[in-house]
């Protein structure tokens, strides 16, 4: 028996290293856990040509939407673990969803290899709003608690968390109105159905001069919207947004994982790719395998504390 086990292990190791030597030698399926047309889709579409340039292989982008991504993530570890099936992952989704209810996966079961960018939270008002600055905004909200309505892309989304965080930091009370996605939320903003919107830098890029950006949740100002100040420079420690990464089924061979993470890092370093990403309002991020543990521990602690405060954790 031991001999057979050793043989088996040797075969596995061999096939593993063979896969490594050649990886990727065929098309890689890239599953997006959302529908087409969203930011996750657009990012994947922008990664595809660079992936092809670097490896000579294509990324076949597929969609598996459902339950805010959970339908796909619940199936991830049951998929073929050879490195030819990879899946987009998103924060805060993969932390918040298992906290709220049993969605068929746990945060630690999702093997994210690389977080490649994020869409920083941004507080946005219509261009002709009497609210000119973040200071005006806080004052108005203090004067009439709850009367400031802010549209957002959905309950428990990243921008909903930002609204909760900011209200706490500023000591104000605003009303978050969840819409079914960024599109309807933007329509409500432009139509002045709401006083403003918790959106992302991408929203500001899309809507341009029709809106004014009061603050972005970044360490430094976004290169494509330099006239929008960060929350930090206005005295609020708010940095965050919706993060996007790539994960694999957990039994994917370690060397394949390493190779894939390396490719993703190289894509992220491509100047043309960076330019397109930043023009779209995305903020680049490079969290590879080396930093993954510390990064996940940090965001998990942060989201868990917030979820507890918002009362959305399951009993």
């Amino acid at each position: 028996m031991p001999i057979r086990n050793t043989l088996l292990a040797a075969t596995l190791a061999l096939s593993g290293s063979l896969a490594f030597a050649a990886y990727p030698d065929k098309t890689v399926n890239y599953i997006i856990p959302f529908g087409p047309g969203g930011e996750s889709d657009i990012s994947a579409r922008l990664q595809e040509p660079v992936f092809k340039k670097l490896t000579g292989q294509s990324l076949a982008i597929q969609y598996k939407p459902g339950a805010g991504g959970a339908a796909a993530w619940a199936q991830l570890n049951g998929m073929t673990a050879d490195g030819y099936t990879v899946m987009g992952t998103n924060l805060p989704h993969i932390v918040l969803q298992p906290l709220q209810k049993d969605v068929g996966f746990k945060t630690d079961e999702i093997t994210t290899l690389f977080w490649f960018h994020y869409t920083p939270d941004a507080l946005i008002v219509p261009a002709d709003s009497p609210v000119k600055t973040l200071k005006d905004f806080v004052e108005a909200a203090k004067k009439a608690p709850g009367a400031t309505t802010l549209s957002g892309s959905g309950t428990n989304s990243a921008n909903h968390l930002a609204q909760q965080q900011f209200d706490k930091m500023a000591g104000i009370k605003t009303t978050y109105v969840p819409f079914g996605g960024t599109g309807p939320s933007n329509a409500a903003l432009l139509g002045k159905q709401v006083s403003g919107s918790w959106g992302y830098t991408t929203v500001k890029m899309q809507l341009g001069d029709q809106v004014r950006c009061l603050g972005v949740a970044m360490e430094k100002r976004h290169p494509a919207i330099p006239d929008c100040p960060t929350f930090k420079e206005q005295g609020f420690e708010l940095v965050g947004g919706a993060y996007r990464g790539v994960a694999v089924p957990k039994s994917t061979p370690a060397d394949v994982q390493a190779k894939l993470a390396e490719i993703l890092g190289k894509i992220n370093a491509d100047p043309d790719f960076i330019k397109k990403m930043e023009e779209g309002g995305f903020a680049m991020l490079n969290v590879g395998p080396a930093q993954m543990g510390a990064f996940m521990a940090k965001v998990k602690a942060q989201y868990e504390a917030l979820a507890k405060e918002m009362g959305i954790t399951k009993k």
Binding site: G104, G191, Q206, L207, G208
Partner: protein, 501 residues
């Protein structure tokens, strides 16, 4: 019109070829139950990345408009909407096909689609920037009332008993609640099933509710699927044009309604065709014939849903807010192409925009011959194919279509279960349409209600929010008209009858 010069740049051989290929591909995809316009556009987006922006847009617009039209085939010939936009086409299309006029119904659908498409694209060409503001006037409350307006259609669908229609509508509303609430995040009616967290998918429900009962009936009865009446199928163009001439006001009204609904980011082709249908029915002297094979019903739904294509592009291009789900994908494709939509697009990128709009108009015109030819082919095949081949073939399509929704088996299971349920309910006189209306409109109504309630609460006046806004009041008037009109008409008819006697 300064934009006429761009007609020439749209007329390059490549663009014409793309428009033709797009319309054909879109029509075929749209005709297959389960494969929607959204999917058609999503699947073909990658092919456009290598093209010039204007050509890419023309190809995508052609696919989109073709798919919306293609949905009518399955609706008319199989009583199964090929896309959600053609739900209302089943109301009169299938009865016409059963009565031996399937070919006429298909020709009418094609002509109405072309007219609706041209009206929608015409508005896009001439009035896009001012019309875009319409999209912004609609707040959550207006969407709530619009959905309620759609629901009142159940009362006047006219197939079977009203009480059973209302019960079916309530069942649909309940189905719409299943899963994680979009607003609020509550988990409802899921039991322990993770598969239900995402809710009941509308496309798989459509396929199940409409198609499965048809398949079961086909197998259970010995008669032929459609009555071919020993007559060779033709275009029946002369008959069709006289019907169109008679229904010109209906066509105009439905096309404008379709354009307007298309502009609204929270509503799409399904609502547009329902609204147009109910208005056509209310205004028609042949009101009682609606739902039993009235050609005017097809005129209304098919012109309205194709008008949403042009209408939907208005907020997409002017505001950067997608008017319909396929527009969201096209917007994404534009971003990848490096084009920023927004108010300045029409001035700074005028060549691209106007070349595209002319391309869309050309594609819509191309749809006329293409649609007529494919329609005749589809009709002949459906009539000629023996049931032993037709039934398994369509059954396979239902499984493929519902699987393609999310690349997931859950939707296939949902589709089959809902289909069996619809068949059993059908034996007791409940039809599928009220259930589907409840399912589609329930989530729109709920979303609008909760958002309106939140905003009204923050303003300190919930009642004022729901009943104090001009557009809301306008929609409420139409709701009341829709509900009271049949009753009033009946009363008046009785009254005059009594006076004569």
């Amino acid at each position: 019109m300064g934009s006429l010069e761009y007609l020439l740049s749209a007329l390059t051989p490549l663009n014409l070829l793309l428009a033709l290929a797009g319309v054909v591909a879109g029509t075929v995809i749209g005709a297959l139950p389960g494969l929607t316009a959204t999917m058609a556009v999503a699947v073909l987006v990658p092919f456009t990345f290598a093209m010039e922006p204007a050509s890419a847009l023309i190809a995508l617009g052609a696919i989109y408009t073709g798919a919306i039209y293609g949905g009518a085939y399955a609706a008319i010939l199989l009583n199964t909407p090929g896309t959600p936009s053609s739900i209302a086409t089943t109301f009169d299309g299938y009865p016409m096909a059963r009565a031996g006029s399937g070919d006429l119904a298909l020709t009418l659908a094609c002509l109405s689609s072309v007219i609706g498409g041209l009206v929608g694209a015409g508005f896009l060409l001439v009035l896009a920037p001012p019309m875009a503001t319409v999209a912004l006037k609609f707040g959550p409350v207006e969407y709530f009332w619009l959905a309620v307006f759609g629901l009142t259609l159940i009362a006047s669908l006219g197939e079977g008993s009203t009480v059973k229609g209302l019960i079916g509508g309530c069942l649909g509303l309940l189905l719409a609640m299943v899963g994680v609430a979009e607003v609020g995040g509550d988990v409802r009616f899921v039991g322990d099933s993770k598969a239900l967290l995402g809710g009941i998918d509308i496309v798989s429900a459509l396929i199940g509710l409409y198609c499965i009962p048809v398949l079961i009936e086909l197998v259970a009865t010995p008669v032929a699927h459609l009555d071919a009446t020993n007559r060779v199928a033709s275009f029946r163009l002369r008959e069709a044009t006289s019907i169109l001439r008679r229904g010109k006001f209906n066509l105009a009204r439905s096309s404008v309604l379709g354009t307007l609904v298309g502009i609204l980011p929270g509503a799409g082709g399904s609502i547009a065709s329902l609204v147009a249908y109910s208005e056509a029915k209310r205004a028609s002297p042949r009101r009682d014939n609606f739902g039993k094979g009235e050609p005017d019903g097809i005129l209304a739904t098919e012109s309205a849903n194709n008008a949403t294509v042009g209408g939907g592009f208005i907020p997409t291009l002017v505001l950067g807010i997608p008017g319909t789900p396929p527009d969201a994908i096209i917007l994404g494709a534009l971003l990848v192409q490096g084009i920023r939509t927004g108010p300045t697009l029409f001035t700074q990128q005028a060549p691209i925009v106007y070349t595209f709009i002319w391309g869309l108009i050309l594609a819509t015109v191309i749809m006329l011959p293409v649609g007529l030819l494919i329609g005749r082919f589809a009709f002949r095949s459906i009539v000629a194919i023996p049931k032993a081949v037709l039934v398994p073939g369509v059954a396979l399509l239902t499984v493929l279509g519902s699987f393609a929704v999310h690349n997931n088996l859950h939707e296939v299971q949902q589709m089959v279960l809902l289909g069996l349920m619809a068949w059993v309910l059908g034996r007791f006189g409940f039809s599928a349409s009220p259930i589907v209306l409840g399912l589609i409109l329930g989530s729109i109504a709920e979303r609008g209600f909760v958002q309106g309630h939140l905003i009204g609460g923050a303003k300190g006046s919930v009642w004022g929010e729901f009943f104090g806004r001009p557009i809301s009041l306008g929609i409420i008037v139409f709701i009341l008209l829709g509900l009271l009109w049949p009753w009033w008409a009946a009363r008046r008819a009785r009254g005059t009858g009594g006076a004569n006697a």
